[in-house]
Symmetry: C2
Subunit: 564 residues, 2 copies
C-alpha cells in the first residue's frame, strides 16, 4: 500500500466515492471488493441461474447423504509450488514422481491456475478467513517467538462450519501465531495437534541440521560469544514450544518434549509420522460420528534439509526435499486408502495443494527449483504464488479435468462455506476476498468467477493479475505507462517485461485504476492489526527453558505478565 | 573443437593410442565413439541377451506382417521444444492445447529426455545419417543460397531402408542444402516434395511478413540504396527457389511459382496445406503398395509470424506460432485418422517430435517461450536441444509410458535401421553416433543404451551431458575444475552453475577425459567437408530471376559454370 501512495493520489477521491455507494447498496450481503462487483454486474444473471441449478444438485447430494453436507478433507503441502507434485509429464524434469497425487489428480479436477499468497502464514490465513492476510494484520509469523497471531476477531472456516454442524479437527503444521487466541482450538477446531512455530525451528534449527551446518548463526559451538552483550538476542531454538495437543474449550499442552531435550531430525521425522497417524485416527473417529467433518492435514514434510537420516536416495533428484515429497506422497496414499476403507470417498471433498513456491534460498541443496514459473517463496512472481492444486468429489466434480480459470486460495473459504451450508455464517462486517467457486467445481472450466488476483508481499501490494496479464507495480511515483507488464502465456517466467503501451494502450491506466479501487475500499474497511498477547499463553506445561525464554521476551516487550 | 585445443593438449596422445586399439578390435562392426564402447563393455552381455529376445519379437512381427518389417512415419516439427506439444499439464502454462498429439502420446511412449541438435539442419542431418552433423561438415544451411549441402558420401536412413526393400518418400521442409546431391531424391527418397530453403525465406521474408515489418533489412521500400555499390549483397528472396517436386533418378522441378511472383503468406499457407495433402496422398499410395514404407512429413507450420492471415485467435496464447501449433496438431490429427482408415496403424511405427527449441529472437511475438528448460534454437542449453518426442507402435511399444532414458536424435537412424532390417547397410567406414534404442522402445524404461550426449553448436563442442550432469565446456585454457556444471534435475534451467568440486571431486576431470576421448577419435575418423556444387544444380525450370541470382552467386564463387 505504501508503495502505491503517490501513484494513487490523483484519482483516489473519485474511486472512494464510487466504492462507498456500491458498498452501501450491498448492505446485508457479503461485502465484496470492487473487482468482484465489476464481474458480478456483467455476469450476475448467469451466475444466479447457475446457482439455482447448483442448489438443486447440492440438495440432492444432501438427501442421499442422510441430510448432511459433504465432509471436507484439506491437505496443504508446505512450500510446494506449481508442477512439483502430480503432473507426470514433469517427472523427468524433476527427477521424481508422486504416483498417489497423480492418481488423485486423475480422479478429480486440477485447478491449474490456483494462486496462493507467497508464504506459509499468509496462504493459511487467506484459506481460513477468506481474506487477504493484510486485512487481518497477520501477514507473516516470524521464525522467533513474538507474541502475535491470528486475531480472535477473524472468523475462520472452522468457525463457520462448526456453527453449521460440522465436527472439525486440525493436524500438522499450523503457523498462525504463538498466542492463545491464535491456536487452532481457539480458532474453531474441536481438536488440534500442531507445533506452535514452523520449519525454521523444526527442520533447520534442529540438532541434526545444526551439525550439518544448515543454519550457521544458531550453532554457538562455532561462534565466539565475545560480542554477546545481549544474551537474549540469539534465541535458543530448543526453548521454544514444539508440538501441542488440545481440545476446544480445554487446555493446550506441549507434547513429546522433555526439559533439556534437544530436538533432532529424528524427532522431526517422528513428529511428521505422528501427524500422519493422527490424521488417520481422527478421520476414522470423525467418519464414525454423526456430524459431517472438516479435517485439515497440513504435513510437515516435504520440508526437510538434513542428510544424516537418508540412507539411499529413492529418486533421480536426490535432494532432501525431493525425497520428502515422495515420502509425503506415500503418506497421502495411505490417507486416501483409508478414505476408501472407511467408505467415505463419495461424501468427502478432498483438496490437495501446495501453499507457495519453493524456498529459493535452499534450492540447490533441497532438490526443489523454480522449474516452470520464475521465483519462489516470499516473492510476488508466479513462481512464488502459483501452486499445484487438485480437488476430488466423486460424482459431483468431473474426473480427469483441468481448468484454466483463475482461483485464489481465499476462494476455498467461500466455496467450502457454501458447500458446507454455512454461507449465512460468513461475516457481513468486513471485506471477504474469497469467491465462491462452486460453479467452477461442479460445472467445470469457464465457470470460474474470478479474473483477477491482488498479489501482496507482506503488507505491500506488489502485483496485479487480470486475465492473462500481470503488472508488477511501479515504485512510488512511477508512471504505470512504463510499469513492467507481462503476458503470462507468452512469458510465463516474467523475465521479459513489456511496457503497457506494447501490451495495449490503456492497460497500464486500467491496472492502476484496479489498484486504486482495491485500496480505496480500505478507507471504508481498513486493514486491522494482528492479535497480540502473552507469548505461549494458555499452554499449561511450559518447560523451564521455555519459561525463561518467555520471561525474556515479555520483559523485552515491556509486559509485566508472569508466565508462571 | 577449436575451443578445446588447449584444454586437450596434455593427454591427447594417450587418449589417441587408447582409441586406436579399441577401434581396430572392432573392425567389421559399426564404428562407435569411445563413450558408447565404455557402456558396451559394462552392459554388452545384458544387451546381447536382450537383443536375442528382441529379434524373436521382431521376427514374430514380420511373420504376422506378411514377412515385412514395419512402415515408418516420421513427423518432425520445426522449432518445437520441450513441453510445447502434448503434455496437457502444460496447456495452462502455454495457453493452448494439442489434443491430437496428446492422444498420440497416450497411445505410445514419450521419450522424455530426447536430445536434438540445437538447430534445424543439424537435427535433420543427425537423424538421417546417424552422425553428429559436425562429422558430415554440414552443420547449418544458411538462409541465403550458398552452393552447399549434405554430401553424397553420407549414407542416409532413406538409403539404408531403400536398400532393404522400403519405398521412401519425403514431404515438407528439407533444409539440407541447395545443391543437386543434397536434394531428398538424391539422398535415398523415391519421391520428394520440398522447398530448397527454410522459413527465413518462406515465413519471414514473404511479401506479407515484409509488410508487417518482421524483417526490416530486406524491404527496400524503407531503405535508401545510396550505399548499395554491391547490388548482389542483399538477396532478393523471391529469386530463390521455393517448392520442388521430384522422383529418384528423374529431374527436380520448381512448382507453384511464376516468373515475377512475390511469394506471400497465402502462398506459404497454401504450400503447407499442400504438403499435408501430399502426405495423405503419398501415404495412401504407399499403403497400397507391396513394400514397407518410410514416409517423412516435416511440416512448415508451426513456424509462422504474420498476423494479416489471422482472423481470430483460437488460443489464450494468441501468438502466431502458438496458433500454428494448434493448426499443425489438426493436420497431424488428419494424418493419424488416415492411418486408421488405411488399416495400417498396427504395422506402422510413428514418431512425432520437435527438432530444437524455440527461436528466442521471436518469442514475445510468436507465442513460444523457453517455459521449462532455459534457452532455445542455436543454443547448447537444454532449452535448445531438448524436445517433446513420442513414438507409437501398437502392440509392440507399451502405451501410455514415459521414459527417462537419454536419447539423441541420431539414435533414430540406428533404431529405424534395425527395425527396418537394414542394420547391415549401416556404413562401417565412419563413426556412427546413433545408438540402437530398440530395447528402450520394446522393453521400456531403463533399457536405454546411452547415458551421454555431446552438444555442439555448429562445429564447436559446447557441452557434455552424462547421466544427470552437464558441463558447459570452459573456454580454451580453462581449467575443468572451475567449469560450470549443473545437476539437471536440481537445476533444469542451468542458471546456477556449480563447479566440479561441489558437484563431486573428479567429475570435472572425468568430463574433460570424456571430451578428449571423443575428440581423439576424430584423429582416426576426421570430420569431413560438406558437399559443394553449383547452386540449384539439376533444377530444370529455374525462373529468369533465379537464373540471374545463380549467375551472380557462381560469379562471386569464382565458378564458371553457366546455369543455362
Amino acid at each position: 500500500m505504501r508503495s502505491l501512495n503517490q501513484f494513487l493520489v490523483p484519482v483516489c477521491g473519485v474511486a472512494l466515492v464510487l466504492s462507498t455507494s456500491v458498498a452501501r447498496a450491498q448492505e446485508g450481503s457479503i461485502i465484496r471488493d470492487a473487482e468482484y462487483r465489476i464481474l458480478e454486474r456483467q455476469h450476475g444473471d448467469r451466475w444466479a441461474a447457475e446457482d439455482k441449478d447448483i442448489d438443486v444438485k447440492l440438495a440432492e447430494f444432501r438427501e442421499k447423504n442422510g441430510g448432511k453436507p459433504p465432509n471436507i478433507l484439506y491437505i496443504l503441502l508446505d512450500d510446494v509450488g506449481f508442477g512439483e507434485v502430480g503432473m507426470p509429464d514433469l517427472d523427468v524434469v524433476r527427477g521424481y514422481s508422486t504416483p498417489n497425487i497423480t492418481d488423485f489428480a486423475d480422479q478429480g479436477m486440477s485447478m491449474m491456475r490456483m494462486y496462493t499468497e507467497p508464504s506459509c502464514t499468509p496462504t493459511r490465513v487467506a484459506m481460513l478467513t477468506g481474506r487477504h492476510p493484510v486485512r487481518t494484520g497477520f501477514d507473516e509469523a516470524k521464525a522467533v517467538p513474538e507474541g502475535e497471531g491470528l486475531a480472535d476477531r477473524e472468523v475462520t472456516l472452522a468457525e463457520v462450519l462448526s456453527e453449521n454442524g460440522y465436527a472439525t479437527a486440525h493436524i500438522g503444521k499450523w503457523h498462525m501465531g504463538d498466542i492463545e487466541q491464535s491456536y487452532a482450538i481457539n480458532q474453531g477446531f474441536d481438536y488440534a495437534e500442531h507445533p506452535i512455530h514452523q520449519q525454521a525451528q523444526l527442520a533447520l534449527m534442529n540438532s541434526t541440521a545444526l551439525n550439518e551446518g544448515h543454519v550457521d548463526g544458531v550453532d554457538l559451538r562455532l561462534r565466539s560469544t565475545d560480542l554477546m552483550l545481549d544474551d537474549t538476542f540469539r534465541i535458543d531454538p530448543y526453548a521454544m514450544v514444539y508440538g501441542t495437543i488440545g481440545e476446544k474449550g480445554g487446555a493446550i499442552r506441549e507434547v513429546h518434549m522433555e526439559p533439556g531435550q534437544k530436538f533432532s531430525q529424528d524427532d522431526y521425522v517422528a513428529m511428521g509420522q505422528r501427524y500422519k497417524q493422527s490424521t488417520l485416527d481422527q478421520m476414522e473417529k470423525l467418519a464414525k460420528g454423526d456430524k459431517p467433518f472438516f479435517l485439515q492435514y497440513w504435513p510437515l514434510f516435504p520440508i526437510s534439509f538434513t542428510r544424516t537420516d537418508i540412507e539411499q536416495a529413492q529418486t533421480l533428484n536426490g535432494g532432501p526435499v525431493a525425497e520428502a515429497i515422495v515420502k509425503v506422497d506415500g503418506y497421502i496414499g495411505e490417507i486416501l486408502s483409508r478414505v476408501e476403507e472407511l467408505g467415505i470417498a463419495d461424501n468427502t471433498i478432498i483438496v490437495i495443494m501446495g501453499d507457495n513456491g519453493p524456498f529459493m534460498e535452499f534450492v540447490d541443496k533441497s532438490g526443489q527449483s523454480d522449474r516452470i514459473y520464475r521465483g519462489g517463496k516470499t516473492e510476488h512472481l508466479e513462481g512464488g504464488v502459483r501452486v499445484s492444486a487438485f480437488v476430488r468429489w466423486p460424482g459431483m466434480i468431473e474426473e480427469g479435468t483441468r481448468v484454466k480459470d483463475i482461483t485464489h486460495v481465499s476462494d476455498l473459504f467461500s466455496t467450502f462455506a457454501r458447500l458446507g451450508d454455512g454461507e449465512a455464517s460468513i461475516p457481513r462486517d468486513r471485506i471477504i476476498d474469497g469467491v465462491d467457486q462452486t460453479a467452477l467445481w461442479l460445472l467445470g472450466e469457464t465457470h470460474g468467477r474470478r479474473d483477477y488476483v491482488f498479489v501482496y508481499e507482506g503488507f505491500v501490494l506488489r502485483s496485479l493479475v487480470k486475465q492473462q496479464y500481470k503488472m508488477h507495480l511501479p515504485p512510488p511515483g512511477g508512471n504505470p505507462i512504463l510499469a513492467a507488464m507481462y503476458d503470462l502465456y507468452k512469458n510465463p517466467r516474467e523475465d521479459r517485461p513489456q511496457d503497457s503501451i506494447r501490451i495495449g494502450v490503456g492497460f497500464g491506466a486500467n491496472f492502476s485504476l484496479m489498484a486504486q479501487r482495491h485500496l480505496a475500499m480500505k478507507e471504508l474497511y481498513p486493514d486491522m492489526p494482528p492479535g497480540h498477547g502473552p507469548l505461549y499463553g494458555g499452554i499449561e506445561n511450559l518447560r523451564p527453558e521455555t519459561k525463561e525464554l518467555v520471561d525474556n521476551i515479555l520483559f523485552a516487550q515491556g509486559l509485566t505478565i508472569n508466565p508462571d
